[in-house]
Symmetry: C2
Subunit: 620 residues, 2 copies
């Protein structure tokens, strides 16, 4: 195991404020860092860093990494193109600069140091008493300085971030002046930003690809990226007439060189087969010029987000497209994120589909789990962690799944802006068995299709329970379920095979019981609230005085009332059966909370930054 | 620091099942254990064990102990009068044999061992992978074998019991046969029992006692202990006519020699001053012959329970008795616990009061905190941990306490049979400041007056919040508040000085809001429940169908509804003011959860029992 053994106590300025008086305040200089830390053994074994994201919108900081599951550690390679007096890199719950876990490279103008630090609730930096970012090396190259370091998933240091599956919010800060004391840094005052990634990429082996594989690029043709922070660009593509049924077996992003930091995410949607034709379009998705009919292009064929790699279907399955009953029209949607408002940047990014005419044994399908889009599921305002749960019941899977079951291999979690966590759990005979997908740092701004680490088999009679956690602290009225961006959703799109007729297995509280809740609230509270029966469900929610009792009782209602189950072949057609006033699935045994593994005995070093030699000065 | 350093790996039978075949099954023998464990240093520094309880009703096992707060450890001395093939001693949440943390002394007939073990959910024994009971020595004496061992309060071993303030349930089991494998032992199948003690006695220094101190013994005169498991014995005593006001400055138990294991607890009550005289009585408290008027003797003067020592008042205060306005009549109540149903045992136990005519600066007082005795505070059936909270509000302390405040120095927690935990917290300006008294393993069968480790100062405007946790898993109907043994209470009798007029500072939910709850439950649930307005509160609670919604909403009600505050000079006379529909005190900042301190670096040994030499065999 590689780790730096040089941790002799050093009297570094950051800790002792030594030489503060003799500092060269007027020095305008940058520095090059030359590695002096002896690497144990030779070059890092982890020389390959398959995952890469730019951290900043200019792409001056570029992070590559790999994941070692046997070591339970991530190896980072950070490319710093224009180093000044150092860099802060780290992780925090939701990308905030406060309470963050940070690796810091800093220079006082003479000497440079690397260490593990943390920021407190005010953004103030502190050296960590346990050093868990382990410097593996630094390398000068024409393009900049490469820093190599390692971090265990879990350090058991309460000041450290626990690296888990799902979204990780990376943050960075740039040191533009010499640093004489780490304690003097307040990260909130530095230039910096955040980048969301899935750090713990699954270790899935790449399936063998068919020899007759062809490619098709769905790309925006020479778009001039609008000079505004956020643009959703829409482009309509079309399959050739008479294009027969094929299987998509993989796809990958095609990002125009130089725009890596601007192309935030891309999706290819297939249009509804009901319409014979769709108009061409190439423009912003929110434009008034956009034809109405494009709203019927919502069936996901492919989705990519920054940091993601190519997506491979399992060897036995492919995503069908082409042929009768399948629309020839595709919509490419690109989210350009341009916070520095670059002008005139041209882009032809898109997604390259790899497909085969030699159909694989199974068609892959996509199923929606979670909550129905209805206002009856609502979140009171001012809630820090409000939980809503959607159920795919045993009765529905009993009816709709084949005896041999289905295999879920990927998942895309979805909420609107208040979503903070999403998890789907598989339950069988009332006992939770397996997490299908979980994201404890979910962000609505980072919705990837994620391969699962382990394929999940679901059999008739199983239950799939999807739980979303919302934060409405910044809202003054209730947030109801619905399609609007300020309404909420709780959805897990699971990708599975073999495809079944079941497109949607979701639930919502029984509306009759919700009416009883409104009546109850009306009678219990002294105030006369307009709970006129003709008022809409959102209006009734908006008029509730949100005291603790009304909040608590709403939670109790959602945890008790029977549900209306949507066990549907398509969004409009239910499977035959009684789906109203169904009992809530009961869970008699929960999955145990995962206990983080701590680093093995020869653990992290005590608190002491690692000194680096300052190389030649360079004019800035 | 003393700890046994002999932990060489040994091939002991318990682990390897060695010699199982060659065991002497017919051997009827006991053994003497001779210490072979070398003590580091000389004799234990902790040679004095001020606290003592018998563990079993015959007094064959006697536990003495001391507490070292600097070391955060308890030193135990266990006297085993008739050792057979070993003993199990340990601790568990509520005295159950399952999931217990155990020190085990066992013999296979040849060799003897001491080790740290735990019992699983079925009572099956397992050697602990971390040995935290540290054997300090063993000593043979005419009366039996003394085992000395040490245990840190907190070991950070998840299999170990955390020794906290308040009640600790000690358990023991007797090994009557040779033991060839620890794993073969199921503690639930052994003869054994439980004893409740306060292990962590406060380290309070004994105040100086007045030179003119006199004693008075309130003792049952030659009672023949009834041959039944439980007897509450009542005896009336009388102060001399014209006995002037004195201060009780301490009291101690007087237990008839030989009856140490039978006298469970004793209390001295003073009768109500309203009555000129009380009849004499000496008999069971539940006898039909007991005069009705004795029910007016409820003012606690002194209380003792098994394991407790003498009780000292703080140097500045004494408990007033005698003089005008104070009844001359006292009632002694003794709880005899006689599970082996001994016959004809004579007893003259009681309490010795130490008092002085030289009055101290302050009279001590007793104040009741918690919940009013009313059925409006109820616990649904089948609850594992249901919480009720009683409030002494800022408004009441503002009105009733002197500017200089009062000082609480002792506390007696009280619930009926469903009580499992009790805690009182002091809150000031909405922020929790200090725990007044807490018992996380509270038992209604062990209600001592406990000296506080730290005196708690309470000032006008402070709030005292008392929270009780109940278990009603064995009940099929709701448990309402009240005086009956199957009704519930939540009370903390705090002992304080200087005495004020405030005798009672308690609360209960506003009855109007409870009516709204009954209406709500009635309307929400489909069933028609008899919620006739003329029905009593208990009857309404009994008729509720206890689904999760009705349970949850009751919790929400108690957490939301305004309260009726009893801020009383005596049980009937309120301080002037508006006490109905008072807002619930709001807490903006909670006390942090205590983080257990783990043993320092040179910690416990790895799993290996300590071998002891088997001495001479002895016929049994």
């Amino acid at each position: 195991r590689m780790q730096n053994s040089r941790s002799k106590p050093c009297s570094c300025p950051s800790l002792k404020l030594r030489e503060v008086a003799s500092m060269y305040f007027t020095m305008v200089a940058a520095f090059l860092v030359i590695l002096v830390v002896a690497l144990q053994g030779s070059a890092p074994r982890e020389s390959h860093f398959p995952y890469k994201v730019p951290l900043d919108p200019q792409g001056l900081l570029e992070l590559s990494w790999n994941v070692s599951y046997p070591e339970q550690a991530v190896h980072f390679q950070l490319l710093i193109r224009e180093l000044q007096f150092g860099i802060l890199f780290g992780m925090s719950d939701r990308g905030e600069f406060e309470n963050a876990d940070l690796a810091v490279l800093w220079s006082d103008g003479h000497n440079s140091y690397f260490g593990d630090a943390w920021s407190d609730a005010k953004g103030q930096l502190h050296m960590d008493s346990q050093q868990d970012y382990q410097l593996l090396g630094a390398r000068r190259a024409p393009e900049g300085l490469y820093l190599l370091f390692r971090r265990a998933f879990s350090t058991c240091d309460p000041k450290d971030y626990l690296i888990e599956d799902g979204t990780v919010h990376l943050i960075y800060g740039i040191l533009e002046k010499p640093v004489h004391s780490l304690q003097a840094i307040n990260i909130s005052a530095l230039p910096g930003g955040l980048q969301r990634v899935q750090l713990l990429k699954p270790n899935v082996s790449i399936p063998e690809l068919p020899s007759d594989m062809k490619t098709m690029e769905i790309m925006a043709p020479d778009v001039i990226i609008p000079s505004q922070e956020t643009t959703y660009w829409c482009y309509m593509a079309e399959l050739p007439a008479g294009f027969p049924k094929h299987h998509i077996v993989m796809y990958e992003p095609v990002v125009t060189a130089g725009n890596e930091a601007l192309v935030h995410h891309m999706e290819v949607f297939q249009c509804a087969a009901e319409f014979d034709s769709f108009p061409h379009y190439n423009g912003p998705c929110d434009s008034k010029m956009k034809p109405e009919r494009l709203n019927y292009c919502r069936h996901v064929l492919a989705a990519w987000a920054m940091g993601a790699q190519a997506f491979y279907y399992p060897e036995e399955a492919g995503l069908a497209f082409g042929g009768p009953g399948s629309s020839r029209y595709l919509r490419l949607e690109i989210h350009y994120h341009n916070p520095l408002v670059f002008r005139g940047r041209r882009d032809s990014s898109g997604i390259r589909l790899y497909y085969t005419a030699t159909l694989r044994p199974y068609d892959a399908g996509i199923m929606e789990l979670g909550l129905v889009y209805t206002p009856v599921m609502a979140i009171p305002p001012g809630e820090e962690n409000f939980i809503l749960t959607g159920y795919c019941t045993d009765k529905c899977t009993q009816l709709a799944l084949p005896t041999a079951g289905i295999r879920i291999f990927a998942s895309q979690l979805h909420t609107h802006l208040a979503g903070r966590k999403v998890v789907t759990v598989l339950s069988r005979d009332g006992r939770e068995r397996q997490v299908v997908n979980a994201d404890g740092h979910y962000s609505p701004h980072f919705q990837e299709i994620r391969m699962l680490k382990e394929v999940v088999s679901v059999f008739p009679g199983d239950e799939l329970i999807t739980t979303c956690t919302y934060n409405t602290e910044d809202r003054s009225r209730a947030t109801v379920g619905g399609f609007g961006i300020l309404e909420e959703m709780c959805v897990n799109y699971v990708h599975y095979y073999p495809q079944t007729q079941l497109e949607l297995c979701k639930s919502a509280v029984d509306p009759g019981f919700l009416r009883r809740y409104f009546n109850l609230v009306n009678r219990f509270n002294d105030e006369e609230i307009c709970m006129c029966p003709q008022a809409s469900v959102p209006q009734q929610f908006y008029s509730i005085p949100w005291n603790t009792f009304n909040r608590d009782v709403l939670k109790s209602l959602y945890g008790f009332a029977p549900i209306s189950v949507h066990c549907n072949k398509s969004s409009a057609v239910r499977f035959p059966g009684e789906w109203e006033k169904q009992p809530l699935p009961s869970i008699t045994q929960r999955l145990p909370e995962p206990v983080p593994r701590c680093p093995p005995a020869p653990g992290p070093q005590p608190a002491a930054p690692v000194p680096l030699n300052l190389g030649q000065l360079r004019g800035h």
